[in-house]
């Protein structure tokens, strides 16, 4: 539907009042980057003082993007050691890194390929620590973390902990814990919709891929950029990451 409307937006004779109202934005998008038509797939590479941004616009809905972004991040991270901060919304997703992202027309086919999908998804779920967030709900329902409602007198102060700590402990010391397995299963089966993801990747493979370099944020990228609910994925060594942040903090001092 969205893809269809975008197609229409390119047509000056569009009748919808919404499209007419949004014309200036569409014009700006077209001017700075590109408006993807039905058979096209738009990738924007933007460099700002924050770092290097990679935007992809598959228009597949948030749930699919959540997995697809982790998958793309994981496949890029296999090529070079790199850390990403990932954000997504209903029409696209962003990978943000402090280093240039090595993406070219040649390796894109592999990064967006539908081969080896199940294994790569499983790896990217682990790498992006998606199960940890799912575990939060499970831990509360299972009574692993105490939730006190307002006004309730606290009696179990010694039992305070967070689902994050318990998840970390389970991962390290009790990897077969059923509640933790449940978190992984929930991410995999409820959220993943693997057939939809495979279909989306196949559609992307068939479309014409357009890579645009922009100097500032485009109308399509801004709403994703401001999304604060992010996940992260990294293939860098912990110590290299700390050293980097150490030098950065010394610079600002």
């Amino acid at each position: 539907m969205l893809r269809h409307k975008f197609n229409e937006a390119l047509n000056p004779a569009a009748k919808d009042i919404e499209i007419k109202k949004l014309a200036p934005l569409f014009w700006q998008q077209q001017h700075h980057s590109h408006i993807p038509a039905d058979h096209e797939f738009l990738i924007e590479l933007i460099e700002t003082k924050d770092g290097h941004h990679l935007y992809m616009y598959p228009f597949e809905g948030r749930l699919v993007h959540e997995v697809m972004s982790a998958l793309v991040a994981f496949r890029i991270a296999k090529i070079q050691p790199i850390s990403f901060s990932i954000a997504m919304n209903d029409y696209g997703f962003e990978l943000l890194s402090d280093q240039p992202i090595a993406i070219t027309k040649n390796n894109l086919k592999q990064i967006l390929s539908a081969d080896n999908l199940t294994a790569d998804i499983a790896h990217s779920i682990n790498a992006a620590e998606m199960a940890g967030r799912k575990f939060r709900d499970i831990a509360v329902i299972a009574g692993l973390v105490m939730k006190n409602y307002a006004g309730k007198f606290k009696t179990d102060k010694n039992l305070q902990s967070s689902s994050g700590i318990i998840f970390r402990i389970f991962e390290q010391y009790d990897p077969k814990n059923l509640l933790m397995r449940q978190a992984y299963d929930e991410v995999f089966y409820h959220q993943l919709e693997e057939p939809r993801l495979a279909a989306a990747l196949q559609r992307i493979q068939k479309s014409k891929i357009i890579i645009k370099h922009a100097t500032g944020f485009t109308p399509l990228s801004v709403p994703i950029k401001v999304d604060s609910l992010r996940q992260s994925l990294s293939s860098e060594e912990l110590e290299t990451k700390i050293k980097k942040m150490q030098t950065e903090s010394q610079k600002t001092k």
Binding site: I169, M245, S249
Partner: protein, 218 residues
């Protein structure tokens, strides 16, 4: 020292070695200083119906053994919260561990969690100090407080963590030592603890961040 790294600092004229195994070592007294062991926390949680495995604590004890052997320490000072609550099966495991190190003196500066009975401490061969224990130029107290200028206090209690933020919205939280002019706050020794990162940050403090097997100064 194998692959674990250390940082040396001077506190009130005394040299202290900070280890990435989340302990400080005082060479002139051959003493290890640790904080917030929370022994018995996993069994306490199990007791309340939350299944946390004991291997968490066993791993902490392995780390402690490694420290004792690496530094050839004669004494351990625990600045509070050595035990999470009451005597339980985890503490019995600790008792077994203690058998191997009978010659090492353990001094506990009591913290808010230490609720074992006097008789238990005696059985475990742990001597309890007053709320504040002074040993030469260094003092030990569980909760970090503002202190008088002459003293240098070593504390625990807050489980300090350091929030690092890098370019491209990257962030990491890791345990750390905090050193100021009169105070050294140790990270929690136990792995089954959270991190408190909301402490006041001012320019006069040094942060020693523990990341993996290394220690970094910020």
């Amino acid at each position: 020292m194998g692959n674990d790294s250390c940082a040396e600092i001077i506190c009130n004229g005394e040299k202290l070695v900070l280890s990435s195994l989340k302990a400080a070592y005082w060479p002139s007294e051959k003493t290890l200083i640790i904080a917030d062991l929370h022994l018995g926390k996993s069994a306490y949680f199990r007791n309340k119906g939350i299944a946390i495995p004991s291997t968490v604590m066993i791993n902490d004890l392995h780390r402690l053994s490694k420290l004792i052997e690496n530094f050839e320490a004669n004494e351990i000072i625990v600045v509070g919260d050595m035990f999470h609550h009451n005597f339980n099966s985890d503490v019995s495991l600790f008792e077994e561990w203690r058998q191997q190190y009978q010659t090492i003196k353990i001094r506990l500066v009591p913290g808010n969690h230490d609720k074992l009975l006097q008789i238990d401490y005696e059985k475990l061969n742990i001597s309890i100090t007053k709320e504040k224990y002074v040993c030469g130029p260094l003092s030990f107290e569980h909760e970090p407080k503002q202190v008088f200028s002459e003293e240098f206090v070593i504390s625990g209690h807050v489980h300090p963590g350091y929030l690092m933020q890098g370019k491209a919205r990257q962030a990491m939280r890791l345990p750390c030592f905090i050193q100021s002019e009169t105070l050294l706050v140790l990270p929690a020794f136990s792995e089954f603890t959270g991190l408190f990162t909301n402490h006041e940050r001012s320019g006069t403090k040094n942060y020693f961040v523990v990341g993996g097997n290394a220690i970094f100064c910020f």
